[in-house]
Symmetry: C2
Subunit: 344 residues, 2 copies
Amino acid sequence: MQRPTIKTIAQETGLSIATVSKALKHSPQVRPETRAIVIEAAERVGYELNMHGVQLRTGKTYQVAAIMTAPGPKQNEWEGVEYAQLLSGISWALEDSPYRVSLYAVRNFEESQAVIKQIVSLKKADGIIISGTRADDPRIRTMQAADFPFVTYGTSIHNAPHAYVDADNEQMIRVSMARLTERGHRRIALLNPLSDLSYGITRLEAYRHALDVAGLPYDPALVAHGRLTPAFGRENVLTMSELSNPPTAYICANEASALGAFSGFHERGLVHGRDAVINATDDLNVSQYFAPPITTYYLPISEPSSLLGAYILRRMEGEPPEALQTLLMPNLIERCDDRLNPNR
Amino acid sequence: MQRPTIKTIAQETGLSIATVSKALKHSPQVRPETRAIVIEAAERVGYELNMHGVQLRTGKTYQVAAIMTAPGPKQNEWEGVEYAQLLSGISWALEDSPYRVSLYAVRNFEESQAVIKQIVSLKKADGIIISGTRADDPRIRTMQAADFPFVTYGTSIHNAPHAYVDADNEQMIRVSMARLTERGHRRIALLNPLSDLSYGITRLEAYRHALDVAGLPYDPALVAHGRLTPAFGRENVLTMSELSNPPTAYICANEASALGAFSGFHERGLVHGRDAVINATDDLNVSQYFAPPITTYYLPISEPSSLLGAYILRRMEGEPPEALQTLLMPNLIERCDDRLNPNR
DNA sequence: ATGCACGATAAAAACGTTTAACTTTCTTGT
DNA sequence: ACAAGAAAGTTAAACGTTTTTATCGTGCAT
């Protein structure tokens, strides 16, 4: 038994395939009574739209490409794991639409650039979602030049306007720094993502500004940029804690590096709260299980991910990018008092 | 300027589109010289195969559906994060093929069942990859009944034969238990996944068998089943450590629950190595950053994931499932001596 | 010379849908 | 009563492939 097509319905109802097609997509050209007949027949024969026909005819793919930059296959680090939740969040946001998430895993920035060029020029998707945005991101420029719908997870600094979702890194660092300086800290380390990433820059600027406000000097030795793995957190604690004037607080850009920082504490015999404290940004609600639990800025990953999905849908509908820009402020969850220990 | 099609090449070369099509797919019906002309023209005009035409004509989708069971959107736990790496591994394995990974995020088992039925009956993909297999898995039966190509991450017990990749849980538990009993442990807790999952059953059976071999009694109070979140690890340590005869070793099924177990230790004032030890299975190389680092069975997630990709390709080629079954033995990484502390 | 098989290419149909252009019927205003 | 126009359907073409079938020379045996 063959799968029914609009032709089947046409025969079944005695109408032409054109009318059937129009009826099914609620064209005003067909009378409500006729539509009812078509709908009934469609249900009776178990009709389901065949996307391949639609795709060929209309050129639409009904695919949203999610570009996922993950380290090479031989790399097995706790990095980019929040992608799983991000993807499922996007996927759920598209659930009631005809769109599907099509995954493009790339190893690095260059590869993502190439993949995006291909998707755009060969129209392998109708929309693109990327992350890991840079201050001036050539991928964004590619998509903008082709007028291709996209949303970024992360802002860019020089490519506005475009649709984006991000955590409010500026505010987060500002609040975080104010809170720590208020509690007596004068040597605060910043464990930052790779320096070409837009949010790395935002965080660094906010950090420096906060230092200014607090009247504290900027010490480059307290700032590190790198891939946010546990190894990164660990190694920086190991080196920074050996400074003649070591930091009394570490601000980690994610949970992975915070975990690594703890590992560094353990190695050096440092005790959290006594010798120094760790604050982090947390997407996965995992910092509460650290020993001890730490203060975090918690943004449930489901929020940005469902926004990304919603935004790409609206962007593909033609909504202007200016209306699709959101900075989300994570929740401050204080699990330690984080005061500077005076007799350290 | 329009995107070139085989028609473009046909005009360019003076051949018919049929010949062009055949030439491009290396049909023996066309002379090598003719083929060369076609290839040359194709490159000159920058021809790229339009999949929509192919899909409509052949009915193939060139999509591999990856079913990803992740907890609902409102749940923001560290769970299933290894999926990110799994997906990218699969995606890379398909890189040189025309296939793409199409993501289907589902909330629970029932939903995955429905989604799979749909993919199979409407042929929305050419192959399926699932995980979270059960002892007798109705999804597998669905796909088998329709003779639909699939590979599972995880074994099933009653649905053989089918293509699968999994860690060798039986051996892992056997070795793990032998090692711990050898070191004096007589109260060993097992933090297991949900009891309907196939690997949960395998692990439990291996555990009970190992107890028998060691002449130790089976105590249900030392076995827990649940979703492998940090919360799960933590709560079980909290309750089990209060037993009159508490465990001196915990075997955790993943890193998330191991992290939670540590959190439980901290809460109860237990010290790893003194009061009890934790062993875990680790996909993401993260246990080395625990304080202290723990002994783990480490299986880089890239291995099973690239196998999954390779297997689904071969399965779609028609290779019989019996040839596509692999159990991978994780590497034992001893980071503690894990001996029972006699004066605990 | 005639017929035949074969090799190489061309013609045409088909996959399922959308949509521009056309036809028919009905309504309406004069 | 009739033209004009709207409403509701139909016809036919088109999207880019693959594949079955047809065509056309050419070489070969008879």
